[in-house]
Symmetry: C2
Subunit: 448 residues, 2 copies
């Protein structure tokens, strides 16, 4: 199995690919390498030069149309006119910070809190999911007095020093926080959960083991930081209710649950507006980011007042751009659009249709090990053997490259880099399914 850091860059462009590029693309990649440096990685052996987006699609510089099955940031669709109009109007009027009174941030806060359980009664705004998770860990530590955070084994929670140290997906070059511990995700396909009766109970038992191990090492438990669709671990949406036992374990051990909703939030799973809500649980802190402003940099952290105060009354916190009227206008337009266009219900229906369309392929292709998902988030696992379930890593890469050549943009996840992460914009419709499934089957047939 490849090392973690390989997986993070699984489908990256590399210098060795440059020879096969056309001249314009080669020049652009060379310029990037010179100006932006080594951290910047492009997707694909033949990078895509995007210039325009609309709804579920993007177009490249040559006018070629692509179906976007990767980007959850332009959540209600690329260049959604409602978001464009809201941002343009507010920018022309005022953009300032939250140390002056402004009505829009309060109206949005009230609206957003109405989508969350009553227990989560306060919200703060930042600019990125990393900032939200960085703050959430600090808040959890301040409230519990503990330090130790438990994470799933391939989790990614952000790019700051603190969140990177809580992101095992970044690989062995990045240190893990000394007080953090890892737990395997509730992988119903691979985990040996039969003895426990359900993967949810199995996961809760593994979690308790890590809490116990942490305590034996003299680290006080602060909480569980979790993405309820386990996006980076390999997309384990699971049955509704799956996380209930784990949340009980956290609370019985006096920890807090931080639900990182950067991936599942804002209607994506179809079953609920928030990923955790699919499981009927109530976290103590909820962080949100990517899809919140359709590309406008805005993020948020909701919490119980009591949990938040332990931090807020001790340490000053101010985020200059956080909650500014323009970001809020974008976020409000996203929330309004999700409702007006029924995007949660569409996610539920279209996601199920997609998985129903993919299911018959498993009869024809032995390499399809599992198809799973919730709403507009589907994981499709390719294995070299259905018995050993060994990840078909190289094949998976070839498939996403082949899909890119067929105009469908997607990527892979999981420690084996063999789980296709089908995560379109919420603008993705039933009528887009044929293109996606056709491109997948053609690419797979070609790659086999």
């Amino acid at each position: 199995m490849p090392t973690r850091s390989t997986i993070m860059d699984a489908n990256s462009f590399r210098a060795a690919h440059a020879d096969s590029l056309d001249e314009v693309t080669r020049e652009l990649t060379a310029k990037r390498e010179a100006l932006l440096g080594a951290s910047y990685r492009l997707f694909y052996r033949n990078p895509v030069h995007v210039v325009r987006g609309e709804s579920a699609y993007v177009w490249d510089a040559d006018g070629r149309k692509y179906l976007d099955v990767y980007n959850n940031v332009p959540s209600v669709g690329h260049a959604h006119p409602a978001v464009v109009a809201a941002v343009s109007a507010q920018m022309a009027r005022l953009n300032t910070h939250t140390r002056y009174l402004h009505g829009a941030v309060l109206a949005y806060a009230e609206d957003l809190l109405s989508t969350l359980p009553d227990e989560l009664d306060q919200i703060m705004f930042m600019c990125t999911g990393s900032e939200a998770n960085d703050l959430a860990i600090r808040v959890a530590r301040a409230y519990t007095g503990g330090q130790g955070i438990i994470l799933t084994s391939e989790a990614y929670h952000g790019n700051t020093e603190l969140t990177s140290a809580h992101s095992p997906a970044l690989g062995s070059g990045q240190h893990l926080d000394a007080s953090a511990r890892l737990v395997a995700p509730p992988d119903a396909y691979r985990a040996d959960w039969a003895a426990e009766g359900s993967v949810g109970v199995w996961f809760a038992a593994r979690l308790q083991e890590q809490i116990d191990a942490m305590r034996e090492d003299g680290i006080a438990f602060a909480g569980l930081l979790i993405d309820s669709v386990f996006s980076s671990d390999g997309v384990f949406t699971g049955e509704p209710g799956l996380l209930a036992a784990a949340v009980d374990v956290v609370h019985r051990n006096s920890g807090v649950v931080i639900a990182d909703e950067v991936q599942p939030g804002f209607a994506r799973t179809g079953d609920a507006f928030w990923g955790f809500a699919r499981h009927g649980v109530v976290p103590d802190i909820v962080t949100m980011g990517k899809p919140m402003g359709n590309g406008m940099p805005i993020s948020g952290m909701a919490a119980r007042r009591e949990v938040l105060e332990a931090f807020s009354l001790t340490i000053p916190y101010f985020n200059t751009f956080g909650g500014n009227p323009v970001s809020i206008a974008a976020a409000q337009a996203v929330l309004d659009t999700i409702r007006a266009e029924g995007l949660q219900e569409r996610a539920r229906v279209v996601g199920a249709e997609l998985r129903a369309a993919l299911a018959p392929l498993a009869d024809r292709y032995e390499v399809i090990g599992d198809v799973r998902g919730a709403g507009q988030f589907t994981g499709l696992e390719l294995v070299s053997s259905r018995v050993t379930k060994a990840p078909a890593t190289a094949l998976s890469l070839d498939v996403i490259e082949g899909m890119r050549e067929r105009g469908v943009l997607t990527s892979v996840a999981g420690p084996g880099g063999n789980i296709l992460k089908l995560r379109p914009t919420l603008a993705f419709r039933s009528s887009d399914i044929d293109w996606l499934v056709g491109a997948f089957e053609d690419a797979l047939a070609e790659a086999l």
Copy 2:
């Protein structure tokens, strides 16, 4: 002298002020308290409810016009039409991340790097100054192999766990990083620098003392993180060249210089496009934020390729919203506008005019201890005695409240909270000086 945490909230609204508010304002403040929680602080005993901005001015909900002498974020002026047009057009076209090719981010990177010394040849984009400084500290540590960062004693560098632990201005509730050390700023007004011949040499000597002390504690020196106008310390713009000796000390001790340009960057000081450039020094890392996108959340970190690679080749870093086409469109429009409107030259001229207009007041008011600055960044220090230089803390607060009542928005800085921080948008013109100086003098006369 008040504690640090008091200073951070010096001119905050407090619940005790609520009785004197009109009904609408009282309702909004109560709603904020309920929804947003304790970290959110409003400016002023009578908070300003802003609804519109244009050029150097904002308007409140009652239609009252204010002169904005506080906000450096709307750097080229509130709701600048060039920025609004650029963002609106790009949003309607495409907003996505840097893992696809896009020409605008490269054109902007090239343009921005052309304003920096040749040694700084690579740039990365984030969303906030906090993210830029968080990354810069990590890069400095990776490159030097050291841990210890030296900061000025009232510095503020961000709100993440790492940058908060490098922000002594946050006060005693926030821990300082165990490897960090503080140095007094080059305060020509108060420091006892005569023996060293210049405050710059005095500052360099104090810096060497801290590096030595750090080493004695077994901490390897990583670098100096510094705002070259010492905004949070009390606005010590100093004579050009002031920082040369300090930068030499850092390099002789094998550390890196991180110039935090969130405050002085983007033409504000008038003398140069970057604050460090006023002093003829070349930092190893430059971070930038607030004014970069005129309110659009964008930040950046420029560095020497060699310095950056130590980090980039080891640890994956990706910033979802960083360098997206919309943020870049805003940043490019800001850079273009600074040039097209000659805002650097205007900052130089108008800033000097403002200080010339304030100077005669020092003859009439014994409490004016010092007036200093560069370009559109002026510090005006109020003291209870010119001999003891004791900070006139309460008076300063009354003055900024009095100025607010006269429609001029500003704030205070420094450990004594007695330094008026006059930091208008770059749209501030000569014709605005009378309003500002008149409001200050009236407020001062009233408060005395």
